[in-house]
Symmetry: D3
Subunit: 229 residues, 6 copies
């Protein structure tokens, strides 16, 4: 099971991907039952970045980006590359040239539990990257890893073909088999929020909107009026 | 003293708040005798954010944002919500809906020793937040905490009604009873800096402007001319 | 060797500095044989900052910025100040007034393994700073350090007169004696990348462009076609 | 309020301190309503250390241990020194000589949100220390701080005379005015645990002992038998 | 798939567990192809701890240990409890009473990506725990999680019934289906090391033992004799 | 200058090494003018470890321990191996077999800015190691580095032949050319401390012993008697 490249992985229907993209990370994460989130140290390398697509996964050795070249051949239009490393590492495993190649093959973004470099050219290309670090540290091409196996990236389990939703709030992973169900639940949450937003904007309190006063009192919450002391 | 909500706390006179706002975090912190600063991990979620107001404090359980709803009822025009958590936590306890509600009740900003989500909508609303993390991680509403008690937030002691000054340099807490005195001292520092800035811009050295040459020599500083070696 | 200020240090020829500047951090670091990089926690305080110049070095005590005033006198047109601290520290040792003074004496940037404050005014001045933290924490002027001795800053050895190249990707140190050689090698890399970029953009794979297929097969990489299972 | 030494602070009755000591950190923390705990990065410098006593507080500048000498004069038999620093710092502010002096004056332990050195001699003396780091880094004696003012140490508010309970589980702070009440509650918890321990050791499940089955079912917990799939 | 408890999970044959135990973490990890290791922040709470057994997994909410009580009912003789949390958390979710209960039901150790308390009693019981933190911070029992689902714990994917090998070097996870194969490979490695150890102890160099001189020379390694300069 | 092995480096006279060993890390660091200390994250893998010897330096790639084998050939009786890595890394680059080989060639300890494994066997061998992490993570042997060049290890500059002093307080580096002078200064400090220790143990205050009362008063320290309020 080590040092393998799996080709022709299954992917989720594009319309489901579109729905997930339109809902955003926070809503999709809630719709999954508050699961699937990568660690908050994963940040976009430029503000405003967002991307949603099917995961092509990479497991690499720290300081070695050989398998990224291997992985790009497996990418199809709309895919996102997800790179896990076998140990904590911040080396700049990805930069402008790899992004040029990945983009040319249809890749729309990168999620990497390591470092990224060439921040300015990547921003100019509009190529979105979520990484644990920004670092110019160069890497070698010496040791094998795998492509399209199940990995753990930034604390989240990712299997090839899972949908990756990424924006300013971070990165969430939707398992391929749950994608349709999660997209529906997320879309429903978005619809429900409009009414709440309007009522809260009008000054109604969450305490009343969500009916919290009774459970709070029951739990023992006590009010003290400073003005009456 | 646990699980209480204190209402009708005392606040500082608005003109004092205005003076503190105009001086900014670094100057106010110096004017207090270099005290009151929160840890530097507290960062604005969008660049350029700034806010100054009276603190409504919250003590919450990690992963539980129930008390934020309770706290919003206690907010008055110009207040800032300050959220401390009983243990290190990065969950996204605050987002767009809570911001909408907080803003509708007069709240002008949030300082939270945990995570924040919905970064893009918050930026679009122009709602300023200082947090230790950005995270979409959802929270529960299950366990009581307190509102408007003294808390420790990001390493700084905050009592309800203290003035919070926050900008790109971080967050400083001015105790309510010292606010008038500190505002005066800060305003004086601002006035004094103009002359210094002009002289330094003209090429005068700090060594001369501040009369440092003699104490440096006395302390034993030695000069070596590389050109004469 | 402690508590000394060395004046009239040697510097690199300006044309070499210009070449290094035009190549950027990632390329210069590769051209040095992947050495000389500061830790990735060193980040510009505003996006887009870049600066390249000769290092005037400072060794300071945590929480004490006295030696920065001493160092500014040693700065010449085009120099960068590089501040190391004798222990991990995030205090805001540098701000608008020091920047005004440093700029007036010809300094073009700061690299500091500690904190920086006055982020907004520094950005408005266009003064570039790379630091480990942003913090308003004020400092004292009580204990000597040294200027223009060899230091370790953010994990990299820096000697006075070394060339500092800094941009969005971080900070790299080029030893003075290797600067000409490294500049030449870096310029060559830039030239070589144009052809690669064009071919990758046209869809050619790195696997083919770099001739990786044979060594990968030799190392034992195996392909599995999911569609044929 | 800066740069002051407060003498003759009030302390808690020794019998209350004895009760708190016998209960230990975890139980005292629970008895306070799960408050008062310092951050878990505070660790004993040798395993098995434990100490409970009244706090003499110090606020020091990073890298400067001048105020520790000042504080030792204020120590009485059974006191613990609690050192807060104005910014994150790991310098070795305390070592064998200071411990010798502190012990000679009646001090029974140290809690320091910075570094400690001379680990071996301190262990041989049996002198307990809780610190955020072990570091030989020497400090200066140049800048004033304060003794016996309210401080924030490792995330916990400490006022002079509060009771510090410290053991292998960390450090908890009991406010002086709540000490009698908390000691009583803690002692009660200890008594209650004996029966629980016996029943759990006999194989009774917490699910039954604490009556959790019904609330779990009500919350929606579902059981799936793998053997029946 | 959320809020479920799976009972009667499959486990690995005890003789395979015995072999894995005898090989230790480092050897088992190598035998798996250098995979399956938890992050190095997972440390035993007392030195010398070691345990190997089948995983009963728990997914809990930060600051909430309700599901640990639920999980203990699912434990059989020789099992280890593996606790993952939905967000980074250091609360003391496990202590002496839970250990007493877990041990009474046959549990032989705990691996928890959160905090542990009651270090001294646990050490006296000889009960081994690997955790990310030691903390007395108490937890609530308010929110459901799951038992015996696949989780990510400290960066490693763990499914119920996988074998957990833990000692002073950390924690490695052996997938249930690979356990027999990995145990055989690990045992073989142990056998091979004896000869190497003897030869190295006799002064033979790894350069010769492993035949490294030629590949090093081919890679371009150059020797410089300082004595001949 | 890359990928080289320098042999026959100069070392310090053994009697100087002996003096430095007898003084310990904290004293030697003070005697150097508070310089040369590695970061406090460098900890012994077992308590009580201590070693002092001449540095044989290694610069390695993250996750690659090939150069350690190369370095062992350069080790002479009494040397310590000092391993720097080109980027932050915690992989277990060193274990029992390498220790056996290193010991057989006269090596007396290891300082590594990465991970170490086989903690128990190393402790049983009495082989001292200072590392940034304990990790079983295996490494490859694929990429060259260098042996006996100047490196930065854990924030300290180390040149081959420098004296490494390591104990429970951490690791300090004494430059070869300053070793004799530093050893003399350190020995003098040890002698001076005896008298101080005796006087402090007798209850004399540091305030008096070091004559601090006048400078403290001059700096503005104020005393407040709580009993007189």
């Amino acid at each position: 099971m080590n040092n393998v490249v799996v080709s022709n992985i299954e992917r989720v229907d594009p319309s489901v991907v579109d729905t997930l993209r339109s809902c955003g990370v926070a809503t999709v994460h809630e719709a999954m039952g508050r699961l699937g989130l990568m660690k908050p140290y994963m940040r976009p390398i430029w503000p405003g970045a967002e991307a949603t697509g099917s995961a092509v996964t990479v497991l690499a050795q720290p300081g070695d980006n050989w398998m990224l070249h291997v992985a790009i051949e497996q990418v199809r239009q709309g895919d996102m590359l997800v790179v896990a490393v076998t140990a904590d590492n911040t080396d700049g495993m990805f930069g402008e040239l790899l992004a040029t190649s990945l983009k040319a093959r249809g890749g729309i973004g990168l999620v990497i539990d390591a470092g990224c470099r060439d921040v300015r050219p990547l921003k100019e290309m509009g190529f979105p990257v979520w990484s644990r670090a920004i670092s110019a540290k160069g890497t070698v091409k010496a040791t094998l890893g795998s492509v399209n196996i199940s990995v753990v990236c930034a604390g989240a389990a990712v299997s090839p073909g899972d949908v990756i939703v990424a924006d300013d709030d971070g990165v969430v992973v939707v398992p391929r088999k749950r994608a349709t169900e999660v997209a529906a639940a997320a879309a429903k949450r978005v619809a429900n929020e409009d009414d709440k937003r309007r009522r809260l904007a009008a000054g109604e309190l969450g305490l009343d909107l969500y009916g919290m006063r009774e459970p709070l009192a029951k739990a023992g919450l006590t009010y003290i009026d400073k003005a009456k002391e």
